[in-house]
């Protein structure tokens, strides 16, 4: 009878937990054993409760995976990996481990969603982590002693484990030891679970409502919410403009530093994306916040940051082509899709080459000197006396002016666009919109939440149309160039050439659709309600525009 096969821990596996499940998860399922009590005493207590050994004591090796920016943790989720034969068993659960949502066996080297086996777990992870790599964030090793409680029918009604663990994180030398009891409830047997929970608490075991992962993070001093990839500085309206701008730029430099290692290692494309945005936002801020810093200093750093921006461009371009590749393929009829594969190989090869060059530049003395000088400049205290017109003015007044001016530029250029306007004009509008978006996001904390959210949302929709149009414009011309390069390298078969031609045709069609959608989108952005919001929020009179 197959049912005699050794049992493995059963969990609730339903994605929409029922009432009984919620009741069961209401209390902690992990308890810390204080040193003064010790494992032996707790084992005796559990045996007294009727627990029996389920298997001999064995070693455990747990790895909690999450993205660099802790996307799973932020969504109250956790992904645990444990070796099982030649695979790793992945368990996707709530952050505290109480409700298991999916399990799967994956290849040990699987790090991206696309490398996971198809199924519930992959489907659940995909919208959260998208293209990000899963990094081993917290490691837990040690010994586990599995126990179980059975009812008079010999049915297992609760699984328990008494564990000696060491908690650490890759790259950290600090290791923390702990002893704990883990409860692994069986669905539909909440009564016995509650009894055991009460008993453990009455013995002064400390419940861990945040689960083992939460406790491990606290021990290791890791604060997952810290990095968001976005500027989180809260400015006050009367802050000096130079101080406020410096604090924003410092935050942006922090984002660049945070992503530097990931960019160099080429872990996933998001590191470079965040790095680039931080560089671009820094450049925008330097360029638009006029007469806040000495002109010569600004000019010097703008040139150097522009170098950094250009450095990252080619790799990002290749990343984008590769990210879009599945969409390219699905544009083509199914029979032709395999013909595009040589293009993927070509792009991957180019990406590797560009990334190697980028990584080398980021390890260069020139980059190190730029980072050092930039950091020194940003750490400088604001001068007490300044001749710069905007340096000592309140940031709110200066931000109002800059946003208002940029917004007016967007409106002026947008209105001037007609059906005959060349692509370059739309590209120019796109750049202006980007600057406006950066300003709105960077100075967000100075304004009311709701109207700002609304304006950013409206602007984003306009940017999407402009972005798609421009991206398609560039892609169409680049794909032609790639085909020529492949031809030159003897890698272009007639079938691939034809597939690329079909793709270019489809992209041109989409570009034309985008172009047609522009007028309507711009009209929506320029609607009376938005105009009034911009005017109300940013058009503070009295101060002359600089």
């Amino acid at each position: 009878m197959r049912l005699d096969a050794p049992g493995v821990p059963a969990h609730e596996l339903y994605e929409v937990p029922g009432r009984s499940l919620q009741k069961m998860s209401a209390h902690a399922l992990q308890f810390l054993v204080p040193r003064r009590i010790g494992r032996k005493r707790i084992r005796a207590l559990l045996l007294e409760l009727g627990a029996e050994h389920a298997a001999p004591r064995s070693s455990v090796q747990r790895t909690w995976y999450d993205t660099f920016d802790w996307r799973l943790y932020r969504h109250q989720r956790a992904l645990l990996g444990e070796p099982e034969g030649k695979h790793k068993r992945l368990t996707y659960s709530d952050r505290n481990g109480a409700t298991v949502r999916a399990r799967t066996l994956a290849a040990p080297e699987a790090r991206f969603v696309r490398e996971l086996p198809r199924g519930t777990l992959r489907d659940a992870l995909a919208p959260l982590i998208k293209t990000r790599v899963l990094l081993a964030q917290v490691l837990q090793t040690g010994r586990t002693e599995p126990l179980l409680l059975r009812n008079p029918n010999e049915k297992t009604v609760l699984r328990l484990a008494l564990e000696d663990l060491e908690v650490t994180t890759p790259g950290h030398n600090a290791t923390h030891r702990l002893q704990c009891v883990r409860l692994d409830p069986v669905r539909g047997y909440a009564g016995v679970l509650r009894r055991v929970q009460r008993t453990l608490q009455s013995e002064s075991l400390e419940p861990l409502p945040e689960g083992l992962l939460g406790h491990a993070l606290a021990l290791l001093g890791i604060e997952p919410e810290q990095y968001t990839g976005k500027v989180m500085v809260t400015l006050t309206p009367d802050m000096r403009a130079d101080e406020a701008t410096r604090s924003l730029l410092r935050e942006l430099l922090g984002i660049m530093y945070a992503n530097e290692a990931g960019v160099i290692a080429g872990l996933d494309s998001e590191f470079l994306h965040d790095f680039r945005i931080a560089v671009r936002q820094s450049r925008t801020l330097l360029g638009l916040m006029k007469r806040v810093f000495p002109q010569r200093t600004v000019q010097r750093f703008r040139v150097r940051l522009a170098w950094l921006g250009q450095l990252t461009g080619p790799t990002r371009d290749m990343d984008v082509y590769l990210l879009k590749f599945p969409a390219y393929q699905s544009t083509l009829p199914a029979a032709v899709r395999p013909d595009l594969e040589p293009l993927r190989e070509f792009l991957q090869h180019q990406q590797r080459g560009e990334h190697t060059r980028l990584a080398k530049s980021l390890r260069s003395a020139r980059y190190a000197k730029l980072a050092q000088d930039w950091e020194e400049f940003l750490q400088m205290p604001a001068p007490v006396n300044t001749r710069l017109a905007n340096a000592a003015r309140p940031i709110l007044a200066v931000a109002n002016e800059r946003i208002w001016r940029t917004y007016r530029g967007v409106m002026r250029h947008g209105k001037a666009i007609s059906d005959d306007s060349p692509a370059a004009v739309l590209h120019d509008l796109r750049k202006r919109c980007k600057k406006l978006r950066y300003l709105l996001e960077l100075f967000y904390s100075l304004y009311s939440d709701r109207p700002m959210k609304q304006l950013i949302k409206e602007l984003k929709k306009l940017q999407d149309v402009l972005g798609d149009f421009q991206d398609l414009h560039v892609q169409i011309s680049s794909l032609g160039q790639f085909a020529a390069q492949m031809q030159g390298q003897g890698e272009l078969t007639p079938r691939t050439e034809k597939a690329i031609a079909v793709l270019i045709e489809a992209l041109a069609q989409r570009q034309a659709d985008c172009r047609r959608g522009f007028d309507e989108r711009f009209a929506r952005f320029a609607c009376k309600q938005n105009r009034q919001s911009f005017t109300r929020l940013f058009s503070a009179p009295a101060q002359p525009l600089v």
Binding site: L3, L13, R19, R103, T104, T120, E154, K155, R187
Partner: protein
């Protein structure tokens, strides 16, 4: 919701292994990673006994069909990962009547 595959084991004779086959197929499905629920609709409750689970449904099995009680309240975890059970209820004998009415049968199968 994803579509479910339906496999039917049938034979008019008793004791030929219909329940054994169904329970083992469920176990195989769970072992292969599918979230599997066995709903024991047999008034004899043989599948429920396989798992050593008490043949009783909170509030009565009829309430389940009438949607007076949510299904998750009645689910019991088996000793096997990914394999759960809605136990038999000895009152399910009355279901035969209930399920043979075609409209009720259709409704019951599409509700869960």
């Amino acid at each position: 919701m994803k579509s479910m595959k339906v496999l039917a084991c049938y034979n008019i004779k008793g004791g030929v292994g219909k329940t054994a086959a169904a329970v083992n197929l469920a176990w195989l499905a769970a072992r292969d990673g599918a979230r599997t629920l066995v709903w024991d609709l047999d008034p004899q409750g043989a599948a429920t006994f396989y798992f050593r689970i008490k043949p009783k449904v909170k509030g009565g099995a009829k309430d389940l069909l009438r949607r007076k009680r949510p299904m998750p309240d009645s689910i019991k975890g088996t000793d096997y990962e990914g394999l759960d059970l809605v136990p038999a209820d000895f009152h399910t004998a009355t279901w035969t009547w209930c399920l043979t009415r075609s409209s009720a049968r259709r409704a019951a199968c599409t509700r869960f």
